[in-house]
Structure formats: C-alpha cells, structure tokens
C-alpha cells in the first residue's frame, strides 16, 4: 500500500508522469498512422478540422491499396524473403557458432573476430560494389538478389548471439553423449541444440525482424513492381513525384507492420533476450 498522500504524489512524479510521457511519445506515431489510414480525404486535407480524432471513419484507403497496387504481392515477397533468409541464416549461423563456442581448433580466434567484425560492418559500406556484383550475376529484379544478400546481415548476428547460448551448456553433457557413442554432430543436434531452443528462437525472431526491416538492398535490386517488398513498394509507388497518397501510405505502413508486431507480441521475452544478450553478460 501507498504510504499516504505524499507517497502517492512522489510515485506520480517518479513513475506515472514519466511513464505516461514515454508511452505517449513512443506510441503516438502509430496512433497517427492508424487514424490517418481511416480518415476520408475530406478530413485529411482540411486544416480546419480537429485532426486528433476521426470524425467519419472509412476503409476506402485500404480498399484502394488492395485494389490499385500490388500490396498483397509485396507482402508475400516480404514474408517469403524474410522466412527463407531467416532459416538459411539460422542454419549457417548455428554451424558457425557451434565450433566457435565449443571446440578448440587452429584459426578459431580469427574466425570469431571475423564474425564480430562482419556483424558490425554496416550495409552502406558495401551496397555500391554489391549492386555491381548482383548485376554481373544477372540477378537484378529477382527475389534471389535479396535472398542472397540479406544473410550477410543475419548470419553474423545469429552466429554471435548463439555462441553465447552454446557456451552456457555444460561440456559434461556432450562428453557423456560421445562416450555413449554419439558423434560430434549427433551430440550437437541431439544434446546441445535442444537445450538452446530459447537462443534459437531469439535469433530466429530477431533475424526475421531484421529481414522485414531491410530497405537498402531491396530498393536497389528490386525495381519492378511485382518483385518489390512492402517498404520499397510503399515508398516508390504510393509517392509519385510530388503526389503523396497519404491514406494508402498509412494503410500500407500499418498492414506492413502487422507481421512483425504479431510475431513480436507472441515472443516479446525472446526478442528482449536477443536484444540484450549481446550487451549484458548473464
């Protein structure tokens, strides 16, 4: 219980006031996105109408978005690319993290440093040479172009995150399995990986989010409407020159955020674990 009025006042100042401020500041843009997407144009473009609420909600922008653009195709492309690259990166990341975390071999230190460094190399450093490479491979305007390049961001991340989890499994478990006749590979798949399920989930969810967030490679490699992802489609086709289709843009932004938000809402704790694993020693 609160210790009288003074305690309540202090609690208000130290907790509810700043908490309220942060919630409003962080969530207002999403509220704005949502109500803009259901405002009729006569409300959107009338500066004399109070803009903070919707007076007559309509779904025209959603209907137009689905009718007049390739939004469903973009969504399908985005999800397909995100799922494929997440799975590939998780598999290759696991294969890299396991020996780095659990065995001693010549060259281990160099590979570990290499993984950390590639994880930190930002895309803008590589996109121009990468565009030339993709051109020479003749992969322009194919989803393969992004499926091939996204893992450059995701594999080092997955490997780095999983190394921490793999290190936490006691060596004795693996040794016992090997004395029982299991090979190194069997010991990994049957003993260590099941114990690291939370780590694999964190890495997978995080990789999926990163893949959905990617924009630069998709913008460069995907210039035809039917291969675009949601962010690229929205930016290039709902903004034409000086004309902004605000209602549809907001509808696309909201719908485009749904897959990430749904996955996130189911696995918040794994997501947070993935986020903090790299920076907080457990």
């Amino acid at each position: 219980m609160m210790a009288g009025g003074r305690g309540l006042g202090r609690r208000f100042l130290r907790l509810y006031l700043p908490l309220g401020f942060f919630l409003v500041a962080m969530l207002f843009p999403f509220y704005w996105m949502a109500i803009t997407s259901i405002k009729p144009n006569r409300e959107l473009y009338n500066p004399r109408i109070m803009p903070l609420i919707v007076h007559q909600p309509v779904l025209t922008h959603y209907v137009d978005l689905l009718d007049q653009t390739n939004f469903l195709t973009w969504t399908y492309n985005t999800l397909l690319v995100a799922v494929v690259t997440t799975v590939v990166s998780l598999v290759l990341g696991t294969m890299m993290a396991y020996p780095l975390a659990r065995t001693n071999f010549p060259g281990a230190a160099i590979v570990a440093i290499g993984v950390a460094a590639t994880y930190l190399v930002p895309q803008p450093l590589l996109f121009i040479p990468m565009s030339d490479i993709i051109n020479r491979l003749d992969l322009g305007n194919t989803l393969s172009a992004v499926m091939l390049t996204y893992p450059t961001l995701l594999i080092p991340f997955c490997a780095w995150l999983l190394m921490g989890y793999f290190k936490s499994v006691p060596r004795e478990l693996e040794e016992a399995a090997r004395i029982d006749g299991a090979s190194r590979f069997q010991a990994m798949v049957q003993i260590v990986l099941p114990l690291c399920t939370p780590g694999l989930l964190s890495a997978g969810i995080f990789a999926f989010t990163l893949a959905q967030n990617e924009f630069l490679y998709a913008l460069i490699f995907l210039t035809k409407s039917d291969v675009r992802t949601v962010p690229v489609g929205a930016i290039t086709e709902l903004i034409r020159g000086d004309v902004f289709y605000w209602g549809q843009l907001m509808a696309a932004a909201l719908l485009g955020s749904v897959p990430v938000a749904v996955i996130y809402s189911f696995f918040v704790d794994y997501y947070v674990a993935g986020l903090t694993a790299g920076s907080v020693k457990s």
Binding site: L15, L19, F22, L23, M26, L27, F30, M33, L44, P51, G93, P99, L100, T103, F105, A108, V111, A112, A116, A117, T118, L120, V121, P122, Q123, P124, L125, L126, F127, I128, P129, D132, I133, T152, I155, P156, D180, G181, A182, Q186, A187, Q190, T209, Q212, N213, P231, A234, M250, A252, A253, L254, G256, V260, A261, V268, V272, L275, G278, S279, K281
Partner: protein
Amino acid sequence: MAVGPASVVGPARLAARTARRRGVLEREGVFSWLMLAPGVAFLLAFVAYPFFYGIFLSLQDRRVASPGVFVGLANFVTLAQDPIFWQVTRNTFVYTTVATLLKILGGLAMALVINQHFRGRNLARAFLLLPFIVPTVLSTVAWMWILDPTFSVINWTLLQTGLVTQTFSWLGNATLAMVSIIGVNTWRGVPFYGITLLAGLQTISPDLYEAAAIDGASVTQRFWYITLPVLKPVLIIVTMFSVIFTFSDFQLPYVLTHGGPANATHLFATWAFDIGMSAGQLGMGAAVALAMLPALSLLIVALTLYLRRE
C-alpha cells in the same frame, strides 16, 4: 538419454563402430572447419569480397554499364575539394553526436522509470519497444505526415495552444530538417537503449542500494556510485553499437528528407546512394561510402576487441 541407435548396441560392437566413426570426421579441427566452411565461404564471398571490390571501384572512373578506367586517388581528391563533401561530413557528425547523446539520456531515463515496480510493467516494456521493432521505413512514413508542411499535427497543436502564430516547415528548412531527422532517429533508438539498460539495471542487487542507504548515501550518490558503474559496460557496448549504425544511417534520412533541403540532411550513406545509384557514378559513390571507413573502422575494431574481452 536419446543419443541415437548406438546406445542400444552391445558394448563390444559399439566400441568398434565408434572407433571407425571417430575417424577423421571426429577430429576437432576437421569437424570444426567442416561446420564453419559454408558460413565462412558465404561471408568471404558476400562481405569480404564486396568490401575489397569497393576499394577497387573507388580507384576507378566507373559509370554504370561501361568499363572502368583506373584513376588512382582522383575520386578522393575531387571529393576533398567539393564543399558538399565537407557539408555531408559535418551533417553526419552532427547527426550522430546529437542523436547519440539524446538516446543515451532518453534511454537511461526510460530504463530508470520502467525499473520501478508497478502493475503492467511487462506490458509497458513491450509497448515501449515498438518503435524499434516496426520496420524503419514504415514508421518514418508516419513521421513524414506528422511533419508535413501543411498538415503537420505538431504545427496544429502549437497553433491551437497559442504558443506560435506561424507554422514551421519541419522538413523544408535546413536547420529544422536536421532537427527532424535527429528527432525521429532518437524516437526509434531510445527504446533500444532503454530496454538494454533496463536489463543492466536488473542485474543490480537491491541489497546494494539498501546498504548504501543505511550508510547515508543520497539518491544522487547511489545513482553515481552504484547504478552508473554497474551500467558502464552495457552502456559502452550499446552506445558503440548504436553509433556505428547511426553514423551509417540510410533509411531514415532517405525517406524523410532525401538529403534535402539543399544537401542539409545528406549523410554519407544517402549521398553515396545519390552519386552511385541515382547518378550511376559507381566509382565516385564507392569513394563516398569509403569516406566512412576511418571513423567506422576505429569503432568496429574497438567494439570487436571489447566484445572479445567480455
């Protein structure tokens, strides 16, 4: 324990089979390198090779769809004499420095607020992290509309409250456009700092605070002598990490301002994109991107070493 068929075979046969299987493949080095090979090969082909190919490109006069001509350091010399290059450099440093300071302060405040006990804490944490998980381009689109020259809700609010009589052109004025991209970057980054710092705060034992309080330490003293020292390693890692990706930011300024007005919000990444992709000068574009390298490599080396030490 389920370790495959081997465990149901008799001991003698098991030993023989195991011995055979523990041939070459079971040697530590061989197993490790076989596992690493696909990933290492992929990263060499699609990170290391593009990196060095980028250096090679930057030494050429190379347009899209035509062969390159080796020009040595000419691209870099041209850049050094271009006032826009120096403007972009200044923009990038201003953007990174100011946004990082704001994110540290905001994130620290957010972490301290959520670290208190209250009902719905996990829910609040989940909602506060939303800006960081929603795809940047999509949330930036919402900000474009919030900062629209004619229909900005910020302008509307300011006018209604009577604080101003004239509206602001948030994305049309050079200074305000920089303020805007810094503001949106901060909005997106504060939750990242907040949630990771919160995880750091939660490792501090309450006993420590109690003991300090009994010894007569004030709230401020407890913050300076307990909270900050414990948070320091987390804060260093999170900040270096965030600085790398703020310094090389592309999505946000590209969508919000396209580097405008008059290059006022061009960062290295967006300018490199304009030159390399929009204008098709691959060599010059690669040179602009490489201009990030000195600062970036310092940060990457420092952070890599720091992470290894941990």
